[in-house]
Symmetry: C2
Subunit: 341 residues, 2 copies
């Protein structure tokens, strides 16, 4: 029996649980804990976890892999809470949208024999909470992997394999690079979208504006519905990069504003719109190649590998047996009696 703990059972933690359960690993127990009243029970009823833990420390006992999926600014506290209870050599990962601070907290607060491998699933939706959890949330999405300097190869592979089991594509990246890139294509859009909805909905004419707001307005302001905790925590833990990109964006938009306000021939404006449209169409038609998984996938399936990493060969062989049985069931080779067994 192998155990995984998920600390924090919101949209991300809950979706991880559902995705792992659907992967159908035999002999895998998922223990979950959420600080909010009633969430543990909901997560168990939805099938995202097997067992509820009353305290983070209780959840991680005997776990080979611990996933911290709390809001960013709670991660520090979660590390403090689980540190004394972590088993020797356990792998710990997280799911925060910013990585630099998390890596520092892990270094400060987790025991020396613990391998921390930061993680960030680049997926989500604007609805939050366990009730929005979705086993498909991570499918084919990149999942950034940020190993700490002291993480063992074994722990890195465990986390990468866990990520592959959720359907995501693990891709290794440096914490500084991660935060700088995400500031541009995730955190800046969040602020751009929030400011747009803030401005329009704060206008005296809002009832009239809302009546003529179309799908373009809805899409452009979708990120304004993001969790305020997440937005706040991102702004704090990625402040420097975000301010850098905000300044560049303000400059870009002011430039566009000036062309519109002053240009007479409008050729520059035509060219600008045409260039941007062509670039975005190219991006949508042929997005950059999906990141290559960091690991060569060998003959073992991700599920087998995961179990092998966590509990060794015995369970791997059993997993293979169970998988064979499932395949036979699906192809109708087993009779009714065996199907019910």
């Amino acid at each position: 029996m192998a155990r995984i703990a998920i600390i924090g059972l919101g949209l991300i933690g809950g979706s991880i649980g559902l995705a792992l359960k659907r992967a159908g690993l035999p002999d895998l127990e998922i223990v979950g804990h959420d600080a909010e009243y009633g969430v543990n029970g909901k997560a168990r009823k939805l099938g995202a976890i097997d067992h509820e833990a009353k305290h983070p420390a209780q959840a991680v006992e005997g776990c080979a892999l611990v996933i911290v999926a709390t809001p960013i600014l709670h991660i520090r506290h979660a590390f403090e809470a689980i540190a004394p209870a972590l088993g020797e050599g356990a792998a710990v990962t997280d799911t925060a949208s910013t990585k630099k601070d998390v890596m520092r907290w892990a270094k400060e607060l987790l025991p020396g024999d613990i391998s921390f491998v930061g993680g960030h699933p680049i997926a989500g939706k604007e609805t939050a909470g366990i009730t929005a959890a979705d086993a498909d949330l991570f499918r084919d999405r990149p999942w950034a992997i940020v190993p700490s300097l002291t993480a063992t190869e074994h722990a890195i592979t465990t986390v990468e394999t866990f990520v592959a089991l959720t359907g995501a594509i693990p891709t290794t990246i440096d914490a500084e690079e991660h935060d700088s890139y995400l500031a541009a294509v995730s955190h800046l859009p969040l602020l751009v979208s929030t400011a747009l909805f803030s401005l329009t909905s704060g206008s005296q004419a809002w009832p009239e504006l809302a009546a003529v707001a179309g799908p373009g307005f809805r899409d452009t302001t979708r990120l304004a519905s993001s969790s305020p905790t997440m937005s706040h925590d991102i702004s704090l833990t990625n402040r420097e990069n975000l301010v850098h990109w905000l300044d560049r964006y303000l400059e870009e938009l002011r430039g566009l504003r000036d062309i519109i306000a002053t240009s007479e021939t409008q050729e520059e404006l035509s060219e600008r719109f045409a260039t941007v449209q062509a670039a975005r169409d190219a991006f949508m038609i042929a997005p950059p190649a999906k990141p290559e998984p960091d690991q060569n996938i060998d003959d073992m399936s991700a599920g087998q590998r995961m179990m092998s990493l966590m509990v060794g060969e015995y369970v791997v062989r059993r997993a293979k047996d169970v998988q064979d049985t499932l395949e036979k069931r699906a192809s109708g080779e087993l009779d009714e009696y065996e199907k019910q067994r």
Copy 2:
């Protein structure tokens, strides 16, 4: 036989044709013209028009209703081209995203006995052209109606009924109000989205950024894929309102930037995100009531009303007969012989 002309067979003109054809009015002919080579034929093959016209003037001959669905800055030229050929008392409408300039051109260029009733379907998608046309594009969307001062009641009702036939909800508005509201919730988002994609795709790190860009980035930059001609024409014909809202937006975003850059307690930031999220969730959960159609719908269907307005009672009675036959067919009351008749 009643005739409608559509000048300009792009996404909007083509979708109007498809929506009208699906409404299944008997004895209605749609004549279409597009300046771009090959588009007329495509529109006819797709079933958006019945007849191709080589010139706008040829298209509008004998038409009770003329719909000008060209790019905004071509409308002026279209008005000049059709003016000599318009039948007495014809109703002319358009579909431009801005209305003030169009109303002025109509007054200047269309004959005095022509009723101009401006229109703007608040619908669309980022793909342009006849091949993207969609009979459902306008369903349940508001469609702004901007009657000129000299438009007859009959012409206004004809245009409103035509709009209702496409599935949209006609809603009367003043040209100045229209352009000011749309600047905030349509044209500003277009610029905000364009600047975001322009900035990020122009960055040296773009390949790295694109690799970690998620669905939030795609949604926030969707409008950057809008037709450059449309974006350009909107910027020119709604310049004053757009610059006003761009300035307010720049101020709003700069304020958010300053809170992030300097605030220590971050309470203000938390509050801001929470307020905006609550407001947007409210907007999405209970959007403002759909605009009421300007006309009380009487016992006649929109199709009957349209035909009545355009060619009088005789065709209305025939339309009713045909509709009865169609309903009987659908309910299986007619035998095979009659079905084939």
